[in-house]
């Protein structure tokens, strides 16, 4: 039987999520043995081209060329997986969506009219049907490998949808918020990182975006009642996932 063909594609991003694949050193050769590399510029100059059985897409869509390219890749791929905050919600560069592009361009480029960018940096799902999303900035290597293993076996990946708090309690951490007074997005952020930041004595800053049961209004009123001002909360939410629906709604209503 022919091996399934894997394509890894980069759009507007830092390369960190696809680097997570190469960072799976022990598992890498085993994984690459199970697939045919159709396209993975970070790893190989060999390229078979389309069609792809699995397309992993990193990055947000932020130029007209990218908008055309993602539609094409969708057509060429059986299963399309968006990997990381940029692909799933626009990423940090979507912070420009809160402003006016022209102001941003002139802040960076002496001749802003030459730089070609769309008004907004957008998630992949605004342009193409996404079969599955992996959150995180960057994605979790474990979730990535687990999902790939599922897809390769023809199963739909299933990931936990609980909040960081659950992982944090299981890790046995003292609560940085309740015990330390540090603002933390753990109660409203999706798990996947292993409660990394609280384990390093700091507040969660929302890399994995909102959890399924995130209740921003309830949580933020608790925060303000405990002396954490709205501006601090807004800045925390204006990170890699500021355009994910729950975070975005709160920012629009409160910032």
């Amino acid at each position: 039987m022919a091996k399934p063909r894997l394509g890894v594609f980069k759009f507007s991003s830092c390369d960190g999520c696809q680097l997570s694949i190469l960072d799976a050193e022990e598992e890498l050769l085993a994984l690459l043995d199970k697939v045919e590399l159709g396209d993975f510029l970070e790893a190989s100059s060999a390229s078979t081209g389309p069609p792809y059985d699995i397309a992993l897409v990193e990055g947000s869509i932020s130029t007209p060329e990218e908008a055309e390219r993602i539609v094409r890749i969708r057509k060429e791929s059986k299963t399309l997986v968006a990997i990381g905050a940029c692909a799933t919600s626009g990423g940090l560069q979507a912070l420009r969506n809160w402003s006016i592009l022209g102001l941003f361009e002139s802040a960076v480029y002496p001749e802003p009219e030459v730089a070609r960018a769309m008004e907004k940096a957008l998630p992949v799902s605004d342009f193409a049907t996404v079969d599955f999303e992996l959150r995180g900035c960057p994605v979790s290597k474990a979730q990535l490998l687990q999902s790939l293993a599922s897809v390769l076996r023809g199963a739909k990946p299933r990931l936990s949808t609980s909040s960081v708090c659950f992982e944090c309690k299981r890790a046995g951490n003292a609560c940085v918020l309740v015990a330390g007074g540090t603002p933390c997005l753990g109660p409203v952020t999706a798990s996947g990182c292993g409660a990394l930041c609280p384990s390093w004595s700091r507040g969660c800053y929302g890399c994995f975006g909102p959890s399924d049961d995130a209740n921003l209004d309830s949580y933020t009123s608790w925060l303000t009642a405990h002396g954490i001002d709205r501006q601090t909360i807004a800045l925390l939410l204006k990170g890699a996932n500021s355009r994910s629906p729950e975070f975005r709604k709160w920012i629009e209503e409160n910032d």
Binding site: C14, G16, A43, S44, Q93, S99, W200
Partner: protein, 412 residues
């Protein structure tokens, strides 16, 4: 990349970087200084520590924070981890397959199984160092202005030593492999620029030194170098003020700081017949593997001398002013500058990554290679062009396997 034979004898070389603009310098405006290290790390998933450290140097300088010596040591070890990981990725997964003549590291496994396996262990070790100090290898979470959020225990760091000592014993085989690769050559004069730190082979801080002028403090960076925009690329280019292209990265560091390279790496350099100054960009792969040896040796010393600091960070008060921070990213000098207001918010940010600085130099190198490129068949030309760009390990998607070569002959 396009090469246009203008018929004048000087071909026009243009490296079109299609990397879409992400406007970091713009959206950093209005953010609090304390948030910046986590935000800027997202510029590059391959060298996040460099972005964090350059920004910390800037703010800590402005706020007058004295960072504990052991915390500085932690940051350096973390940074060595990034050098090891990034260099191993570049040398063995991106560049070596070119020289061997295969498409990727997987294809290299058949010919050199031991090399690929050991190179992956090396890369794994760099990642383990980053996780032990930073929490994770990509976008670590432990650094903050004034220090670290939490300092790892002496035991936690010491657990890195058995694998570290094993790698120090075996890395010679990888050095020998890289040294044996057949490489093209390109001897040319170039302005070399890197940091100089009297205490060590510069990595986490230093003054800006060059083979064509005196050492200057980081605050003088913009007086010495300038960025300019070209119509065919989204990445800004850099040049020396009033001059031309310059080169940052391993070749510059080796050429200007050779005496500070760890003695083990220096001895290996002598065995390879390498001595400063180096003028051939195709030798940068050799320097990268020597810098891996250097980083392993320095890490071994630093880990053994590490003691848990009395407190993980020093408190500080933000104050208004303009600040500058530099460090040696795996690819060369990474310069940051921020204007901060009295509330500790960033009003202006400027970030000059090493790849932007090297871009003009890459084009110059390719210009010099044009005769060879024109003589080669399409595949050979593409490969040579890619290798010439890859000498700089550009941290953009075109770092890797990218080149669409567009050769236009002059119209008669």
């Amino acid at each position: 990349m396009s090469i246009v034979d203008t018929g004048t004898g000087t071909p026009e070389v243009r490296l079109n970087i299609f990397e879409p603009p992400r406007f970091f310098e713009a959206f950093l405006r209005g953010r609090r200084a304390e948030e910046i290290p986590d935000l800027v790390s997202r510029i590059c998933g391959i060298c996040p520590v460099a972005y964090q450290v350059s920004s910390l140097n800037a703010f800590e300088g402005l706020f007058g924070v004295e960072v504990d010596e052991q915390v500085r040591r932690l940051r350096r070890i973390l940074y060595y981890g990034e050098w090891i990981e990034s260099h191993a990725l570049h040398v063995f997964m991106l560049a070596a397959p070119d020289f061997v003549g295969v498409p990727d590291a997987v294809a290299m496994v058949e010919r050199n199984p031991g090399v690929v396996k050991e190179a992956l262990s090396l890369k794994r070790f760099g990642n383990d160092v980053m996780s032990a100090i930073g929490g994770r290898e990509i976008h670590p979470v432990s650094l903050k202005i004034g220090g670290v959020h939490r300092a790892p225990s002496k035991e936690a760091l010491s657990s890195l030593l058995p694998e570290l000592d094993r790698l120090r014993g075996s890395v010679g085989n990888l050095v020998a492999f890289v040294s044996s690769l057949q490489k093209p050559s390109l001897e040319r004069e170039s302005t070399l620029v890197c940091l100089h730190d009297p205490a060590r082979y510069a990595i986490d801080c230093g003054e800006i030194s060059s083979n064509s002028g005196p050492c200057v403090p980081p605050s003088s960076f913009e007086e010495s170098f300038e960025e300019y925009q070209v119509s065919y690329s989204n990445a800004l280019h850099s040049r020396t003020k009033g001059g031309g292209s310059y080169m940052v990265g391993p070749l510059a560091r080796f050429s200007l700081n050779f005496e500070q390279l760890n003695p083990v790496a220096r001895a290996m350099a002598r065995d390879m017949g390498l001595k400063p100054p180096l003028k051939d960009p195709f030798q940068s792969i050799l320097v990268r593997v020597l810098e891996i040896v250097h980083a392993l040796e320095e890490t071994a010393g630093e880990v053994r001398e590490y003691e848990e600091p009395p407190r993980p960070s020093t408190p500080y008060k933000p104050k208004a002013g303009v600040c500058h921070g530099v460090s040696e990213a795996p690819r060369g000098i990474l310069y940051h500058s921020y204007a901060v207001n009295a509330r500790g918010q960033v009003e202006r940010a400027k970030i000059v990554p090493p790849t932007a600085q090297n871009q003009s130099r890459m084009e110059d190198d390719i210009r010099l290679l044009v005769p060879q490129i024109m003589e080669s068949d399409a595949n050979g030309a593409r490969r040579l062009g890619e290798m010439a760009v890859r000498n700089y390990d550009p941290c953009i998607s075109c770092a890797t396997h990218f080149l669409r070569l567009d050769i236009q002959k002059a119209l008669a």
